[in-house]
């Protein structure tokens, strides 16, 4: 298996991990709505995952850039930009005092990200298979 195959295998795994992170976020948000968890615990828990998620995604994007996978890179670049913008504005962390006011926005964002990771998961899978086929030829 050549470099491209390995890269996309790695990407598939990363996308799966990110996918699960988003599912976790969404479950936590709906727990909050149903009053199974208090906002302080929720924010403490989720804030641990915010930066790792962003870094993992940025790292994946960087891998695409370095290996010259332009299409995959362009696919991911907007989200990286969005994340960087959020960190610059210092509102990437969940704030327990504001969480109920912003909950609907957070949920929406998590759902969009979930969809994005799902699409990219299948795209990476497709590219991986493509790479494997082209190698075996």
């Amino acid at each position: 298996m050549g470099g491209e195959g390995w890269l996309f295998l790695f990407a598939v795994l990363m996308a799966a991990v990110l996918l699960f992170t988003m599912v976790f976020f969404i479950i936590m948000f709906s727990d909050l709505e149903c009053d199974y968890i208090n906002p302080i615990d929720l924010c403490n828990k989720l804030n641990q995952f915010v930066l790792p998620e962003m870094i993992a995604h940025a790292f994946l994007t960087l891998c695409f850039l370095l290996s010259g996978q332009w299409l995959a890179f362009l696919l991911n670049a907007p989200l990286v930009g969005y994340n960087v913008n959020k960190i610059m504005a210092k509102n990437h962390m969940y704030d327990a005092t504001e969480i109920f006011r912003t909950l609907s926005g957070h949920k929406k964002e998590s759902f969009i990200k979930l969809g994005f990771y799902l699409v990219s998961f299948f795209y990476y899978l497709y590219r991986m298979i493509l790479a494997l086929i082209s190698e075996s030829d």
Partner: protein, 950 residues
């Protein structure tokens, strides 16, 4: 609907005035009986008329009516034997009837209607003649248990008269009709607003007759406790959306009560019988229905039938039967239950006060420390300490933390200094937080010399954040209140802040960043405090920038309050008196501890957003470590489902520990009629509540977006409302020269106009960010009574006030002069005027004021001698001076709350800053580039017009 429908052919019902029950007569034979002559299948197959939804409003009275009927009206009682005694002459069949009756109490059974005549139809039967009036008289006199609101009674008398007029039995039922608000449309363009209407009560809650089980006049809360932006509830969310009216509760549940206002103390239910719905956990209230002979009650919110607790009708103090209808929770909208141990996480904790006092050079020089220490010393007896458990701690802070050990029995305090600011620790495990009564000598001696102790220190710097952390460590185990007094910006340790008030930002869209917290420390620390039931009050004494926006975060999320004294200098007696008065009131405040607030509502209504000082712990639970008195909260409502039923109930419950060591639940119940008509919604809108709601929304918007956005939000919402009103209610589509508003909203445009020009939201680059942030704190926490004058100040003319003004009226209360419109047209060159907004009082002196006037009021020979600025009016030996002083004193105590306004003398031709400040309160005027009231109306009208074309 007439009686005969339910009775078999040939039967007639007659009212027996003596036994207060119907007697049924078979017309052909003359045979009479007490039992209803119905077929056995009656209950299972109700006549079709009964399922008709048209007579909802009357239904709720029947259970009680039946109880009366069953027991001969002699008062509700469980024991039949006593009943017979209570109703002498009650025939023996009565017993049989009692046994037969319960089937009619089955919920949803159409049979209810069989008894409707008890109130509705009886007058329509001319046969009864003279018996009827006395029977009503008797009904009204059941030992104060009158079952109907008075207006309903009147209604019936009216009906009776009509019945006598020979209208016969085909007459439509008045009772079935809904009362509606009368809508009067008024035009605003070219009219001067009538400012006296600002004190008018909200539109009435036109509940269906007999919605309440008792006829007490207190079943609805006073608007000062709770009011709703609409006094009738729309039945669907789409109707609400279409109407563009906001739906929100405005409440101050822990309102203080002042005898001078005629406030009644909150009735307390001491027997700890707390009847709650099993499903929705609502507390029993005047709007529930008793069913099954009074053994069960049906929840007015979710409709579940619950058992009435066994001791509900039992007087535990005297060990005898009690009168259910006299129970306070069935007669009062606002009640307090004494909560049993199930409502406690821990035994009631004592009130705890930790004072964090800034002793840096600036604070000492301004005299703040001296005044604060003296005020605490003088207030030691007023701090809530009924059971001698109150604890107190004092921490002085400059560049290091100074703790004071106040052991029991000592007469001197010893100081312990901690200079490690990064990792705060307590230097001593005991004696830092001490019992106020036991360590009184040490506390008194410390407070007596606190200011002198630091007199010679020249430390510059303030480690407020670290000191707050230390105070939190100190009292965190118990919870309580941290009172922080600081004269400088916190510059050291945790939570250090920078002076970020860049004047270039003012007036730009970036200004809102100055209204948001600069450091996340104050938010995370607030969460820590809230968890441990600690509240923080901030007293800020700025001579320069102190970042009110950031520091006020702590009070905001811990349910405290921020107080700002700009340019404080204790050598000016006015400053010292103002601070000392307000501070001592804060200390003496009967606070509630460890509180949670939850609002419950009838099915279909959901609380969607919350505004005020608290921490939202879950979707509908507000946590307040300490509940201060007279703080306002706004809760937005949404309709999830369509609402059925003729009225809805909203119930606010605040579970708290009083400062006297009792766990209590204060319950405020409010019922609102429902409506599906948009014009009725407009007729029931409460302009004061809407203005309060808009204020909170605008302040929130100014922080999340920009001040410009906030102002536009207000104007757009107003425009939306008025265009819907124009198009859907007045049905006069198309352009017109008028701006139509319903009569009950006619002052809303004025309040909106005043709000966009308020110092908290005003456009302009000259407002210091501290003042703006503080104004926003006040806008979001003041209860309506103080908020409305804060937005729209009062303006009186003093030189030509009517003779009764300024003198005590018949009731001993000082009469105030008539309020004027806030426009400088009213200012006369020779006049003396007073403008007050509850925070400041301005006395405007015209430059042609006659020397006599100046002499009488200020004891100065002429206008030229007079100096403007903060002042205390001299009390002189002449009637005019006394009247003016009376008015100032009355103004200061006019409203609930701790604030004591300063008096400023404003000369009409001097001190441009002060003059323009006073003039900025005249909101109907044009000022700089802010529009006048007339121009504002034109703007709103153009929005109304543009919405039409869409």
């Amino acid at each position: 609907m007439s009686q005969e429908i339910h009775l078999p052919q040939g039967w007639e019902a007659r009212w027996d005035g003596q036994s207060n029950a119907y007697i049924y007569v078979e017309q052909s034979t003359g045979k009479s009986q007490w039992e209803v002559p119905t077929q056995p299948s009656y209950g299972s197959s109700p006549p079709p008329q009964q399922s008709a939804p048209s007579h909802r409003p009357g239904r709720r009275q029947y259970p009680t009516a039946q109880i009366q009927q069953v027991y001969g009206g002699g008062g509700y009682d469980n024991q039949p034997q006593q009943q017979h005694m209570a109703a002498p002459g009650y025939p023996d069949q009565g017993g049989a009837q009692q046994q037969q009756q319960p089937q009619y109490f089955t919920p949803g059974l159409g049979g209810h209607d069989a008894h409707q005549p008890a109130y509705g139809q009886q007058p329509q039967q001319p046969a009864y003649g003279g018996q009827q009036a006395p029977s009503y008289g008797q009904q009204g006199g059941y030992g104060g248990q009158q079952q109907q609101p008075v207006d309903q009674m009147a209604n019936q008398f009216q009906q009776m008269n009509m019945g006598y007029g020979g209208q016969g039995q085909g007459q439509p039922q008045m009772q079935g009709q809904k009362q509606l608000h009368s809508i009067q449309t008024v035009n605003l363009i070219g009219m001067q607003p009538d400012v006296s209407g600002l004190d008018a009560p909200p539109p009435p809650y036109l509940l269906p007759p007999n919605a309440s089980v008792t006829a007490s006049p207190h079943v609805q809360p006073d608007p000062s406790y709770q009011r709703c932006t609409l006094t009738s509830m729309p039945t669907t969310q789409s109707l609400l959306n279409k109407s563009k009216l906001p739906l929100a509760l405005v409440m101050a549940p822990y309102r203080s009560f002042r005898e001078s206002d005629g406030d009644d103390p909150v009735p307390v239910i001491e027997d700890s019988v707390i009847a709650r719905c099993r499903r929705c956990r609502a507390y029993i209230n005047p709007f529930v229905t008793f069913i099954e002979g009074g053994n069960r009650w049906k929840c007015c919110m979710c409709g579940l039938s619950n058992e009435v607790p066994q001791l509900f009708d039992w007087n535990q103090a005297e060990n005898k039967q009690a009168d259910r209808w006299a129970r306070k929770e069935l007669n009062h909208s606002v009640v307090e239950f004494i909560a049993p141990t199930e409502y406690m996480v821990r035994p009631p904790q004592p009130p705890v006060y930790a004072f964090v006092i800034d002793v840096s050079q600036q604070a000492i020089q301004s005299g703040m420390v001296a005044v604060a220490a003296r005020t605490i010393l003088e207030s030691l007896d007023n701090i809530p300490n009924a059971d001698k458990r109150t604890k107190i701690a004092i921490i002085a802070v400059s560049t290091s933390l100074h703790f004071f050990s106040l052991p029991v029995g000592a007469t001197e305090a010893s100081m312990l200094v901690v200079s490690d600011l990064t990792d705060v620790f307590l230097p001593k495990p005991v004696d830092l937080l001490v019992n106020l009564t036991e360590s009184r000598p040490a506390i008194e001696s410390l407070l007596g010399k606190l200011s002198d102790m630091f007199q010679d220190s020249h430390t510059v710097g303030n480690a407020l954040g670290s000191a707050l952390q230390a105070a939190h460590q100190l009292i965190g185990k118990i919870g309580g209140k941290i009172i922080a007094l600081t004269a400088t910006l916190p510059t050291l340790g945790e939570g250090a802040l920078k002076a970020r008030d860049d004047p270039k930002l003012l007036g730009t869209s970036k200004e809102s960043s100055l209204l948001n917290a600069a450091s996340s420390f104050y938010k995370t620390f607030a969460i820590e405090c809230s968890k441990q039931q600690v509240a923080v009050d901030m007293f800020l004494f700025s001579t320069s920038y102190t970042d009110v926006a950031t520091l006020s975060c702590l009070p905001r999320y811990t349910a405290g309050q921020t107080y700002l004294y700009p340019g404080f200098n204790a050598s000016r007696s006015e400053d010292a008196i103002k601070f000392a008065t307000e501070f001592s009131k804060v200390l003496a405040m009967p606070i509630g501890l460890e509180a949670v607030i939850r609002v419950r509502a009838s099915r279909g209504i959901r609380m969607s957003a919350f505004h005020g000082n608290f921490f939202i712990r879950s979707t509908d639970l507000l946590a307040l470590p300490v509940v201060p008195t007279d703080q306002n909260y706004v809760i937005e409502l949404q309709l999830e489902d369509d609402i059925k039923g003729s009225f809805v109930v909203l119930q606010t419950a605040i579970l708290h520990t009083t400062c006297y060591g009792e766990r209590r639940i204060r319950v405020i119940t409010q019922a609102m009629p429902t409506t599906d008509s948009i014009s009725e919604l407009y007729g029931s809108a409460d302009q004061i509540a809407i203005a309060t709601y808009l204020t909170n929304k605008a302040v929130e918007r100014s922080m999340s977006h920009s001040l410009d956005d906030a102002r536009n939000t207000i104007t757009n919402k107003l425009g939306d409302m008025l265009s819907v009103y124009k198009n859907h209610v007045t049905s006069s589509a198309g352009a017109s020269a008028q701006l139509a508003v319903p009569d009950n909203l006619k002052l809303l445009p004025l309040l909106c106009c005043a709000l966009v020009k308020h110092v908290g939201l005003r456009e302009g680059a000259s407002i210091p960010p501290d003042l703006r942030a503080y104004a926003q704190c006040l806008l979001t926490t003041l209860p309506c009574q103080s908020l409305i004058p804060y937005i729209h100040p009062r303006f009186y003319s003093l030189h030509n006030m009517p003779p009764e003004a300024g003198n005590p009226g018949d009731d001993g209360i000082i009469t105030l002069p008539p309020a004027l419109n806030l426009t400088s047209e009213r200012l006369e060159r020779h006049g003396l005027f007073l403008i007050e907004d509850g925070q400041n009082i301005f006395i405007w002196v015209g430059h042609e004021a006659v020397p006599r006037l100046i002499q009488d009021v200020f004891d100065l020979p002429s206008y030229g001698e007079l100096t403007g600025g903060k002042t205390t009016l001299p009390l002189l030996e002449n009637p005019f001076s006394q009247r003016v002083n009376n008015i100032v004193a009355k103004t200061r105590e006019l409203r609930r709350g701790v604030y004591r306004p300063h008096v400023y003398v404003v000369k009409s031709d001097a001190e441009p800053a002060l003059r323009s400040w006073a003039l900025s309160l005249l909101v109907e005027d044009r000022m700089d580039h802010m529009s006048s009231y007339a121009q504002y109306l034109t703007t709103v009208k153009s929005k109304v017009g543009s919405n039409v074309s869409l």
